[in-house]
Symmetry: C2
Subunit: 344 residues, 2 copies
């Protein structure tokens, strides 16, 4: 059944849904120029979208791979071999985001138990789908709780700096750091967001700007390296970022550029918070040095939306993330509350 | 006389020359895609090139405005009114680079003295041209001295981080920070440069990459916000930047992004140097708070080489420079030597 263009838009503040055993998601590569929905029950389509950043944002990656496994279970009528192939394939898409591995581990565990207990294939399918939908629902709820828990930190007239995209495009719900922004705005607080453009892939300029503009939340876009100068001039009151993986000691790996923001906030006594669901915490990582940092293709740097900006054939390093050590973090906002690093 | 395309290229490592009472310079807006020379004796052509960044780099701006005044003097046979109009017009092109005002002040002084002493117009013309050529020659020599003076700081196998473009495209000679790089390379030192791409206008990705590639000097391009993470991993040994204006206490205003580099170097005990001719020092500025920071058009941020990257109609802040306070600077490399800030 060709489900393409079954629905042209998703509900407000939603980037992924599960409908009739298919996944429907916004292809984020095309924003803000084009809003296009992809509908699929093929895990490889999801894997390719993840690799190419059509799907991105650590919590959303967890949800997307869970739903991709669920779609595979339905499509193959619960073939544990095929489900395992999907899990293994999805595991190889991106190395840093913890939520992706956390979700796949939950899926693997169900398949293993089903094999050990010789569970009927239709029951396995049902278990897998239920687990995936629970991950989806839990992520939505986590976003709401994170938004609520952040409110004690956001005063009226607050000017909030953020980087990358941490909104509904990065989660199954309202977002992580941007959930705090949405809630403050929904509660009637007068706020202003400074959005870092987020080189190389410009998730701030493309995605966060698109979300905030739609929501009517006042914001100003800056180049990433202007943040330190704004900090020096006292032009923002708090920085809230998301996280791709948080080590057991609170060290946080997030989008490249996060570390320079943390240093700037430290130098000027500006509170620096990380907002993330606890599914982002990797309890097996003692500290940030154990978190793998993905190096992505040079082309992301030299080719900006199809415009080549550099001489040909030069060396480029493109680390996608950096590490903010726990000592620079004022607190981590999760669905459970706001806690100091070293809280685990 | 139509002098367009009189010569298709300038001599190696030269971005501006004076030839037959005309100025010939590389139009830097088109690099690295196209190498085009503009030849003119019209100060307004120079003023427009400066505003549009066809000519940029603080020392080069000083040289370019001096030559533009000289061309005006020749063309108007020493009309002090017309020369003054040119000086006033060139003064309004860009507010931050000290060298521009320093050079124009030298020109103004000659005109004033000529008026006071009722100097013959042909003698005024000769004085103006001589002064401009002295500024040009001095800048070339300053670049050489800066390069030489920096060598005590650059060890064999040094990995040098820099931002923006501070090479022959930014001066009348070999550059400021990049002059140190050229000299180290010419002296046979094994060096590696990390070049920050320098958003929004990508002077690092476009111009520094172009210079270093031509010179065969090994380098790696990074996005600006990756520098802090390289500092944390010990991936470079020294940072050398240029300067647009240095206050009397050593506070330095330079390309936006310089401050985050200084904070990263401070956090990881990496030496952080400023390289600039003394014409960049504004002795009338007590400290950096008195230096005007140009805010440039939002379009430079949202329109990357004609590709629109953001939703339409959003707020953008585009400060072109930021301030590195003297406490973060290990030393200032001038034509006179390497001195600690507060050296004046």
């Amino acid at each position: 059944m060709n489900k393409q263009n079954h629905l042209e838009i998703l509900p407000p503040r939603r980037s992924i849904i599960w409908d009739d055993n298919h996944i429907r998601f916004i292809d984020q590569r095309l924003l803000p120029k084009e809003y296009r929905i992809i509908e699929t029950d093929d895990w490889q389509v999801v894997a390719e979208a993840i690799k190419g950043l059509g799907l991105r944002g650590a919590p959303l990656l967890g949800v997307a791979v869970a739903l991709a496994v669920a779609a595979t279970a339905v499509k193959t009528s619960g073939s544990s071999d095929k489900i395992t192939t999907a899990i293994d394939g999805l595991r190889k898409t991106r190395p840093t985001a913890q939520n992706l591995f956390w979700a796949l581990d939950r899926m693997s565990k169900i398949v293993e138990e089903a094999i050990n207990t010789k569970l009927d294939q239709s029951l396995l399918t049902q278990s897998i789908v239920n687990e995936a939908l629970e991950i989806l629902e839990d992520d939505r709820n986590c976003c709401s709780y994170i938004g609520g828990n952040a409110q004690s930190l956001i005063k009226d007239n607050a000017r909030i700096l953020t980087i990358c995209n941490t909104g509904f495009l990065a989660t199954a719900g309202d977002g992580t750091a941007l959930s705090a922004v949405y809630r403050a705005h929904d509660d009637g607080k007068n706020i202003h967001v400074y959005a870092c453009e987020t080189r190389p892939l410009l998730q701030g300029a493309r995605l966060t700007a698109w979300e905030l503009k739609q929501a009517g939340i006042p914001f100003t876009l800056i180049v990433d390296s202007a943040a330190a100068s704004l900090a020096a001039k006292g032009e923002f009151d708090i920085c809230i970022i998301g996280a791709d993986r948080i080590a057991a000691n609170g060290d946080t790996v997030n989008k490249i550029g996060s570390y320079q923001l943390a240093l700037a906030c430290e130098a000027h006594n500006i509170p620096f918070y990380v907002a993330a669901p606890t599914s982002t915490i990797d309890f097996k990582c003692m500290n940030g040095d154990y978190i793998p940092i993905e190096e992505r293709p040079a082309e992301e740097v030299f080719n900006i939306r199809r415009e080549i900006i550099t001489p040909e054939g030069i060396n480029i390093r493109n680390p996608a993330f950096d590490l903010v050590t726990a000592d620079l973090i004022s607190g981590i906002i999760t669905e459970n509350g706001v806690e100091k690093p070293l809280f685990m």
